[in-house]
């Protein structure tokens, strides 16, 4: 998977915004839901890694990767892919560090989205998750 250097793909963001141009509130809600879901998954991932549950970690990392790819967060997707691979290899020794990296990329995406869509895009569960 080619990794874009920007946390948020402008091409994906702009095309989605254009596709939803008649529903700007829905567009912002889509990204707010993405962030809320991503932070929730992040929390769940942390718990699964702590418990050494390989299958759970793999499934949750894949889940985070999936939405991040579709909504244009390639760096988060890349980090999630690394966590997924670690779980598939049954080696979670670096998973904690990978998750910290994921958190950093997700925060970058959130900051970028807050700049473009306003701070209301930041989900309520962010503080608890981060």
């Amino acid at each position: 998977m080619p990794v874009e250097e920007t946390p948020l793909s402008s091409a994906v963001f702009d095309q989605l915004r254009q596709a939803m141009s008649n529903d700007s509130a829905g567009f912002a809600a889509l990204y707010r839901d993405y962030l809320a879901d991503a932070w929730q998954t992040f929390q769940n991932l942390r718990a699964s890694i702590d418990q050494g549950q390989f299958d759970d970690v793999q499934a949750k990392a894949h889940y985070l990767k999936s939405s991040s790819l579709v909504l244009g967060a390639p760096l988060v997707a890349h980090c999630a892919t690394e966590v997924e691979r670690a779980a598939l290899a049954k080696d979670l020794s670096d998973a904690g560090a990978l998750l910290d990296k994921t958190k950093g990329k997700l925060q970058q995406v959130q900051a970028e989205l807050a700049e473009r869509l306003g701070k209301s895009v930041i989900p309520e569960n962010y503080d608890a998750a981060a």
Partner: protein
């Protein structure tokens, strides 16, 4: 309901992905999202009930996995054409999906860019891979098969029968077993073994079995 629109069913376990795909597709007036499935089981039910033109199928879903759903749908002989959504290119997986009847494969990080074009190409009877319509599916399948095939089995100058004997030796068969399997005498088996030992430079059955395992001398399913 829009007349002559392309009727699409979305199957993905991720709600945000479904919403994103639905909004993106519905911006196109010629496309109508007729349903959303949260897992493979629901995808099968809705595909059978709604008879969509296109099924967008995530491969990694709970309950029935995407590939199994695809297998069942193909067996059902529905008119629905399936486009697989995947997170990364796994050529073996792409080959399997095409062999099971998928008409297109779209990477998730390219859905915004390619999905509607892919849907149109598939509706026109084309296949879609790696961001482009495919003109020659046979060639694509041949290339994918070549790229995903295991390394060719080396023979080290052994005849077909001698290779068969090697396979049976690694399975622990005695000369008597081998003779019975092939309907030949034990003397003939011994002669085969002598030839095999000489060609491979091994001195006994154990060395032969180890050589066979370490030098790709066995058919893939035996290893």
């Amino acid at each position: 309901m829009r007349a002559n629109s392309i009727r699409v069913l979305i199957a993905d376990d991720h709600p945000v992905v479904r919403v994103g795909l639905r909004n993106m597709l519905q911006a196109d007036p010629t496309i109508q999202v007729v349903g959303e499935a949260r897992d493979g089981m629901e995808a099968l039910e809705l595909a059978r009930n709604l008879d969509p033109d296109i099924l967008l199928l995530d491969l990694a879903m709970p309950n029935v996995a995407g590939m199994d759903a695809l297998r069942e749908l193909t067996a059902d002989s529905l008119n629905t054409r399936t486009i697989v959504l995947t997170g990364l290119i796994d050529k073996r997986q792409v080959l399997e999906a095409l062999q099971l009847g998928a008409r297109g494969v779209v990477l998730k990080d390219a859905v915004v860019e390619h999905l509607t074009a892919c849907i149109r190409a598939v509706m026109q009877g084309q296949y879609w891979l790696e961001g482009h319509p495919v003109q020659n599916l046979v060639q694509v399948l041949r290339d994918l098969s070549a790229q995903t095939a295991p390394p060719p089995r080396r023979t080290y100058g052994l005849t077909a029968r001698e290779l068969e004997v090697v396979t049976l030796i690694t399975e622990g068969c005695t000369n008597k077993d081998i003779a019975k399997t092939f309907g030949i005498s034990e003397e003939t088996v011994k002669r085969h073994l002598t030839n095999i030992f000489n060609k491979l430079g091994v001195g006994n059955r154990l060395e032969l079995a180890l050589f066979a395992l370490n030098h790709s001398l066995l058919p893939a399913e035996t290893k």
